[in-house]
């Protein structure tokens, strides 16, 4: 590829043609502040924080968007640049509701950091504030336009990364707000609640709907027996909230931290992840045997469920009928476990800690009540919220001792842990399906073909059937991020998908990149968290779901067998076709489900 | 001990001389000097600070803490209106309004002619005869708003 | 005798005299605090450290509640958490929400607490206290709106510095911390030390920041901007970039300053060596010619202002030497200007100091011996770091560079000026050589090192027993001055006094927070730097020798006196006020 030479602040570097001025500055080791820029996405040059001076140019340029040319001379540290950047940030501040002290993003806010870095000490532009639009309608995402700096990073992730496209700038000039069509509420449009917009937001304009208070209330209530489950991806990320590097595996500290909060039992969603494999694996085998709808698609990612319900309702029969591990856990906690320890289901309070904001919506679905109208999962905390609760409790996370999950719902295998990463459910399922189909002992449990951050991965696994019916080539596909999911769905729609089994995760990288994870989340960080997940898997003695002794005991004591009657009642669910249009827009006939 | 330039009268010097250089004498000294001068001026605070070996800030901190001390000149007559709970439920607010109206000033203010300073105090221990006000050292209790102009009138004439 | 108690169910052994907080900290149990500061006596006013003690009707302030045998403490029970949150909410309700334009943004204890407690709403919507910012002082700005009345500044000024410039005034909700009688800071006795800033948890106290003027100078192509860095800065500025206390970053700092665009990056250490030459010679002169003894050091401007106000009668004891900062300034616009052929009127002299009093010092009318203002702008360590951040400089990852000539070369003796006892040790290293004609084998004079407030030592300089004392922190300085007055120090030769606890490394311009532990770490960094240097005695500094050769002649020469020495002004504590009164009337 052609390279060009660019000189930034007297340092000359060679960068590939097509690089921006920002790329060149970074290559020269020069820090240029940015705000609206997102690595990997085309820059809009909207925020003007990354201004630089190009020799011979008339004005200042937005370095993130301005193409570098051969021989270009750039200065990033002139007075003009400094003053202009400072003014830009000051202007942003003047239209930003200043309430850092009560903001969820305080001390983890890019605007706050910029203001600090630039040493801004006065707000020279004081006047009217832009329109204030607070939307608390969604069970997952809260929007507050008064803090929005219109960087449009949420627009980019919602439209380009997730292909959901519900957020867009509305109106213009000083009156511009980012909102769903016609400034409707998120609850009234086809938002999938994934929360990727939250992790993309540099400030506190987007945040999760907090369940912290209801958890504190339950913990403070002596009547309540409060159990908590933690999703696989949380352990690989929560350390970041306490200043640990990305990829720190802190499972046991996390357990200790949760005990400090006062939970009666600290359990693991991994337990029901193993259970999911048994149910879902058998469902797959059943579909294969009985000629059911194929490819079968995983159903453990609630954002993905929302997506298919809204955008591909006609493909719902492809979904596995299994509930997500979170909901399987909730259902079992309020039946099997409540019964076991003699606590009334209404006094059992079930909390889950999830890397996900869509889980909040999922837990509130009407169908997720196993005992009368009591929700199976009472509160869902994101990884961030759980960390915040620990801070409120004065937990010195890094110095916590190692503690282990409680039994029996805390016992799990490596197969369950990898649910946290894209391809993990597939790999876990293959480990079990392989052994069931072939009757062999799987020597190398690592199906590396389905690992990695690539958007769509495919693989074929050869299995020799134990029942002597010859070979079975299981064709699988894995996608993470909804725009990738959309590609696979379009293939199915076109009849071009000859897969048996597809794993889809709503968020890029799988749950480790979920909308409830620590901010920031970048590809580099996602990769580190994935490594931590596989590291945990490698370190576990049992790495196949069907070998989980607690799961086996559960079947023996309570469920009977996979896909049995009890399983269907508690662990499986149905889906609802929905519209991709706002609820109050009359549906076209053709848009309705076929 | 007190330089001529500070403008202290010999009376004040006399008062100050009576006390030991003990910080514990600060409040009694402030009382006595205020009785003499009507208020506690910055110069007085400085003199006291020097006398007691403390800082002006400390003296100022104390003088501003207690409601009976004044760091600004006040009117010839001090009208204290009680805002205690007992006075309040017996109609203290109406009395306060009547006094304010009669003098044309709000609590904390002094009339233009320097005749009256108006203050609201928390409780004067006159709950038995509520509502009550004090003008200088004279006490008036069981008041009705109609009585107010007469009472104040007496002092206006006197001064 | 150990006292046994439990904290959150965990058995803890404490000592008699422990508070719940000290016992908890020792046991590794975290309790949030705000008005508490390890340098100060607890005051128990913020109530953020409230904990539940079994059997007590109310919660107890852990910072001042003594432990007792069998006590059962809960640090994060629901009612404790609820109460703390409510308390911080109350503070927030009366605090301006302007973090984004606050100099303490991201380094504010109130902000950190609000985040720790997860406060997302202030339920109280009433009045907020309004006040004007007091920018009268050359060193310390006060913004009473941001004050949370923790009293740390009051306790600092009174207990550590014995100046008591700040006080609570009025009462209840109207309480404000004010200088004197509610005056501006400039019209009361304040020594500009900035220790109050160091201990302020919020942005209520900040330094007078000239950085925009410095930027203007840097960006002005007609100006030649030279910068000097004080010894203590290099041992602390790393903290501003997240490095642990005690990180030595001299070379990186020089690189950063060059990147910022200073034309020459030179070192106050050079004039520290020069100070030793002048001050040492002065001492020898006083001893041999029967001058006023003990001689007191004069390099700490907060200290100078203190003695001018409180002990004007003892001014003859002060060495006539200017501080290294001012010596540097005077030389920059004479010697350096001459050498480089730059018109001194085009030279802008900037210094980076651990100190806020230096901002006052450079403005003293007598500090213009070069014919210009010797030092134009003084930046604190914090402000220098902020300017680096503004320039996008990531200090910890910079390569190292050397100081520029000719005022950049220095010795280990100069480096240790940064901590208490350092000037004394440096002086003794040189005095030994001058008096005995031989060089010290072991230049580490442990007798004058350490952290005690007042230290005394007799050091044998050859046959001569030199009696020396060292004090740091003005309350300790006051003790020494009283000692001089009552004769306790009458046969002493030389006394070093530093205004701030720990010496300049603990200065009012240094990174926040400050604590004994942090100061010790910085001191260690300073001594490590000294150890690492080849030249460790001021008189061996070749650049200083050259300066005498080329320019000054010899120590205490006429030229030296003209440029490097000064006079002091007895100050009347009342006149500060008198001026103010006149203005009012």
């Amino acid at each position: 590829m052609d390279n060009i030479k660019v000189t930034v602040d007297n340092i000359t570097v060679e960068v590939p043609k097509g690089s921006t001025v920002l790329d060149a500055a970074r290559a020269a080791g020069i820090y240029v502040p940015t705000l609206c820029h997102m690595d990997g996405h085309k820059s809009l040059g909207a925020c003007r924080v990354c201004l630089a001076e190009v020799e011979g140019g008339r004005g200042l340029v937005a370095s993130c968007a301005f193409p570098a040319t051969d021989g270009m001379k750039v200065r990033t540290n002139t007075k003009r640049v400094h003053d202009a950047r400072k003014t830009v940030v000051e202007l942003m501040l003047s239209a930003h509701r200043q309430e850092c002290l009560t903001c969820v993003r305080s001390l983890n806010c890019e605007l706050q950091a910029l203001a600090k870095m630039m040493g801004i000490q006065e707000n020279r532009f004081q006047g009217a504030m832009p329109p204030e639009l607070v939307d608390t309608s969604s069970p997952s995402v809260v929007r507050d336009s008064s803090k929005c700096i219109l960087c449009r990073r949420c627009v980019t992730v919602c439209r380009d990364v997730q292909s959901v496209g519900q957020l867009f700038p509305v109106d213009r000039g000083f009156g511009t707000v980012i909102a769903p069509a016609a400034k409707k509420n998120l609850a009234d449009v086809a938002c999938v609640a994934c929360g990727q917009c939250i992790t993309a937001c540099p400030v506190g304009a987007l945040k999760e709907k907090s369940h912290k208070e209801r958890v504190w209330a339950a913990l403070n209530d002596p009547e309540k027996y409060v159990v908590v489950q933690t999703a696989p991806a949380v352990r690989a990320a929560i350390g970041e909230e306490f200043g640990m590097p990305a990829g720190s595996l802190v499972t046991k500290k996390m357990v200790a931290g949760l005990r400090r909060l006062g939970f009666d039992k600290v359990f693991d969603t991994d337990f029901t992840a193993d259970l999911t494999i048994l149910e879902e694996g058998n469902e797959l085998l059943q579909r294969l045997k009985t000629g059911g709808v194929l490819p079968m698609i995983t159903s453990c990612s609630p954002g993905w469920i929302n997506f298919i319900e809204h955008f591909y309702p006609e493909l719902l029969p492809h979904l596995s009928s299994c509930k997500s591990p979170q909901q399987m856990f909730g259902a079992l906690a309020k039946t099997y476990y409540a019964d076991k320890i003699g606590v009334k289901p209404e006094n059992m309070f079930c909390v889950s800690i999830m890397p996900c904001t869509a889980k909040k919506l999922e837990a509130g679905r009407d169908e997720m009540c196993s005992v009368e109208d009591i929700p199976d999962v009472d509160a869902v905390l994101t990884t961030r919220e759980a960390a915040q609760m620990m801070r409120e409790m004065g937990v010195d996370f890094q110095r916590l001792p190692d503690e282990t999950f409680d039994e029996p719902l805390g016992i799990s295998t490596g197969a369950a842990v990898i649910f946290g990463a894209t391809g993990g459910v597939m790999e876990a399922a293959l480990r079990t399906v392989y052994e069931v189909v072939t009757g062999d002992d799987l020597k190398d449990v690592n199906f590396t073909a389905v690992r990695g951050l690539e958007g769509i991965k495919e693989a074929t696994v050869k299995m020799v059937c134990v029942e002597g019916k010859g070979e079975l080539d299981v064709k699988v596909a894995v996608a993470s991020g909804l725009s990738n999911a959309r590609k696979l769905m379009d293939l199915i729609m076109e009849g071009k998908a000859d897969y048996h089994f597809i794993e889809i995760m709503c968020c890029p990288g799988g749950c480790i990149g979920g909308g409830g994870q620590p901010i920031p989340t970048t590809d580099e960080i996602r990769q580190k968290r994935i490594e931590a997940i596989y590291q945990e898997d490698e370190g576990l003695p049992v790495r196949k779901s069907h070998e989980n002794p607690a799961v086996m005991a559960l079947y023996k004591e309570f469920l009977g067998e996979p896909l049995g009657h009890q399983s269907h009642k508690l662990l499986h669910t149905k889906y609802t076709p929905r519209s991709m249009w706002p609820t109050d827009v009359p549906l076209d006939e053709e848009a309705k489900v076929k | 001990m007190c330089s001529e330039s500070c403008g202290c009268s010999s009376d004040i010097v006399g008062i100050i001389e009576k006390y030991d250089s003990d910080k514990r004498n600060l409040i009694p000294l402030l009382h006595e000097l205020q009785d003499e001068l009507g208020y506690i001026s910055p110069e007085v605070m400085e003199t006291i600070a020097e006398k007691l070996g403390t800082t002006v800030g400390q003296v100022h901190g104390v003088a501003t803490f207690y409601t009976l001390f004044y760091t600004k000149p006040r009117g010839k007559n001090i009208v204290r209106m009680c805002n205690s709970t007992a006075c309040h439920i017996e109609g203290g607010r109406k009395i306060r309004e009547a006094v304010s109206a009669a003098l044309g000033i709000a609590p904390g203010e002094t009339t233009q002619d320097g005749g009256f300073t108006l203050e609201v105090v928390s409780c004067m221990g006159l709950c038995g005869v509520a509502p009550a006000i004090m003008v200088n050292d004279d006490v008036y209790g069981n008041l009705t708003p109609e009585m107010v102009p007469n009472i104040l009138g007496k002092y206006r004439e006197a001064s | 005798m150990a006292i046994n108690l439990t904290i959150n169910g965990q058995a803890v052994a404490a000592e008699a005299g422990d508070t719940i907080l000290t016992a908890a900290r020792r046991a590794g149990v975290y309790i949030p605090t705000l008005c508490y500061h390890s340098d100060l006596m607890p005051d128990g006013v913020c109530r953020v450290c409230s904990v539940e003690v079994k059997g007590q009707r109310t919660l107890c302030a852990a910072c001042c509640y003594p432990v007792a045998e069998g006590m059962e403490v809960l640090t994060h029970s629901p009612r404790v958490r609820e109460s703390r949150r409510m308390i911080v909410e109350l503070m927030l309700a009366n605090h301006p929400q302007e973090c984004l334009t606050c100099s303490r943004n991201s380094k504010c204890e109130l902000q950190a607490l609000a985040r720790e407690f997860g406060i997302q709403e202030v339920h109280f919507k009433g009045e907020r206290k309004m006040a004007d910012v007091d920018t009268s002082s050359l060193s310390v700005f006060r913004n009473p709106e941001k004050c949370i009345l923790c009293n740390r500044c009051v306790r600092t000024c009174e207990d550590i510095q014995s100046v008591a410039a700040l006080h609570a005034s009025k009462r209840g909700w109207d309480t404000t911390i004010v200088p004197g009688m509610g005056d501006e800071l400039a019209s009361v006795v304040c020594v500009n030390c900035g220790q109050c800033i160091n201990r302020c948890p919020t942005g209520a106290l900040t330094a007078n920041d000239p950085s925009s003027k410095v930027w203007d100078a840097i960006h002005d192509s007609t100006k030649h901007v030279v910068v000097q860095t004080a010894p203590a800065v290099r041992a602390a500025i790393g903290e501003e970039f997240g490095m642990p206390a005690g990180s030595r970053v001299t070379g990186k700092m020089v690189t950063a300053l060059k990147m910022m665009g200073f034309d020459r990056v030179m070192d106050t250490d050079f004039t520290a060596d020069l100070t030793i030459m002048e001050e040492g010679s002065e001492l020898i002169q006083r001893v041999t010619e029967g001058g006023v003894l003990p001689q007191l050091t004069s390099c700490s401007p907060g200290w100078i202002k203190f003695i001018e106000y409180y002990y004007p009668e003892l001014l003859p004891h002060l060495s006539t030497c200017k501080s290294p900062q001012q010596m540097f300034g005077a030389l920059a616009k004479t010697y350096y200007a001459e050498k480089t052929g730059i018109d001194p009127k085009d030279i802008i002299s900037v210094s980076i100091m651990p100190c806020t009093a230096k901002k006052f010092e450079c403005d003293r009318p007598e500090m213009t011996d070069s014919g210009y203002k010797d030092v134009d702008y003084v930046l604190t360590t914090r402000e220098a770091a902020q300017m680096m951040r503004e320039a996008g400089i990531d200090l910890p990852n910079l390569p190292e560079s050397e100081y520029d000539d000719p005022l950049g070369m220095s010795t280990g003796a100069a480096v240790i000026f940064g901590n208490t006892g350092g000037v004394m040790e440096a002086a003794l290293r040189t005095a030994y050589a001058i008096i005995t004609g031989t060089e010290l084998d072991n230049v580490n004079i442990e007798a004058v090192r350490g952290m005690e407030g007042v230290r005394e030592a007799t050091v044998m300089v050859g046959e001569l027993p030199v009696k020396a004392a060292v004090a740091h922190g003005l309350a300790n300085a006051r003790q020494v001055l009283e000692g001089i007055k009552n004769g306790r120090f009458k046969d002493y030769h030389f006394i070093e006094i530093m205004c701030c606890p720990g010496g300049c490394i603990g200065g009012g311009g240094q990174p926040q927070p400050t604590s004994e532990e942090i100061r010790k770490a910085r001191i260690k960094a300073i001594y490590d730097e000294d150890e690492a240097m080849t030249l460790r005695k001021s008189h061996t500094n070749p650049a200083v020798q050259k300066l005498y050769e080329e320019f000054l002649g010899k120590p205490l020469s006429h030229k030296s006196h003209e440029l490097l020495h000064t006079d002091y002004t007895p100050r009347d504590r009342k006149t500060v006020k008198a001026v103010k009164v006149k203005v009012e009337s």
């Binding site: - | 803490f65 709970t85 709950c127 | 109460s83």
Partner: protein, 538 residues
Amino acid sequence: MAFYRAHILVDTGTPAVLKGAMGMKSALVDEIKKRGLDKEIKVVETGDLGLHGVGLALIVYPEGVIYANITAQDVPEIVEEHLLKGRQVKRLVYTGPSSAVVDGAAKPRSREMRVILEHIGVIDPTSIDEYIAHGGYEAIAKALTQMTPEDVVAEVKASQLKGRGGAGFPTGLKWEFTAKADGENKAVVCNADEGEPGNFKDRLIMEGDPHQIIEGMIIAGYAVGAHEGYIYIRGEYHQSVSHTEKAIADAREAGLLGKDILGSGFDFDITIFKGAGAYICGEETALLESLEGRRGESRMKPPFPPTSGLMAAPTVINNVETLASVPRIIDRGADWYAGIGTEKSKGTKIFSPCGDVLYPGVYEVPFGVTLRDIIYNMAGGIKGGKRFKACLMGGPSGVLVGEDALDRRLCAEDLAPGAGALIVLDEDKCIVDLMQNCAEFFHHESCGQCVPCREGTKRILEVLNWWTTGAGSEDDLRLLEALGETMSLTSKCGLGQFAAVAFKSSLPLFRDEYLAHVKDKVCPAGVCAMDKVLEEVK
């Protein structure tokens, strides 16, 4: 002591003076002189007789007849008829509900029992001789000559006397701690900074019988080994200061203060310290700060004053009423004292009902009488025949009780009486308005040192201001309740800890009234000018 055939005691308490007592008195003196009776009859100014709502009053001894509601015009008639001719002026004789002031003319119709107030209205408070003539200073003689300090402490402990300032800490225990504490320069401090609205009992004692306080203090000093005493009197109480000053001077002259008291070798002296207007100084550690010449900001506790008080020396701090009880206990014995009152509250207590009662005043009763007893039988019931609505027990820092509390007994085991104030409200009063006033009080009196109290009192006041002007919301109710809880739990001293107690206690009783204000924007009692202000806001 000259002999007079009759004494006339004129009520010259602060309230009486404002009604013209001094004029009446001089008329009386002139009249007596005119009639040449000045060698036979002595006119004495007493302090407050505790008879409020009866106009000017005087008592004629030896008969002990009380004349009430008199004017200067009545004087010649009284002198002529009673003093000259020996006929009582029937139309002026006082027969009110609480005529226990003297044993004579009217029989007490209530359960009033005067122990501390025994001499009030009986003796000339400015005369040490009269005090002595009535058995004064016998207790100190007894203590110094017949008892060891330990005996005294034991006696006070046995009496089960508890502090009368509101907190009710056992006095004997406090003395014992102080006696046993190591330290030079121990001190006895009399807390006479009576600043709680509704309380004026201490003023009455100081104005009417200052010597018993002095005697109590000397006994305390002897018991704990202190040689200095301080009386911290509210700066507003001028007459209290002058009477007490006179009493101290007289006692000193009589050898009852100073070196070697009564030849016992025990030294003790008392200094009066005039407060300067800060309710917080009623809090003992703030009082100590004030005594030491500083801002009245409370100290950290522990250490408590008995181990580290005035200038860090062990210090006993007792309320006026507490100290005034001591001579009687020593005199008549702990058993006698402990025989009065209830199981947990021994002795007598002075109450000062005020507000919407017919006869506000000061009434001393044994612990255990009911609230109804005091309000209806002694204070004459509610003014204008209105209905009782509520009573603020002990002032703004106490609890608010409603009608159902009327038959509760005033003692530790039932209804804790606080310092003694009983602010009574009739049916026309508004609770929210009352709380707004209480909030104003605490906002004004908070020392401003600790966060929960300084900021909390402000916010409570603001919210109540909104409520009383129709600008409140229901959420505020929960908010204030939570705020009150935090203030109680975390404030540094009692002021903040109790500042929201009245509000919290009023919530369950009068929730409907609050809701009317915050939801319906109506003041049921019609006190709050909500509509007017709402109009202005619009």
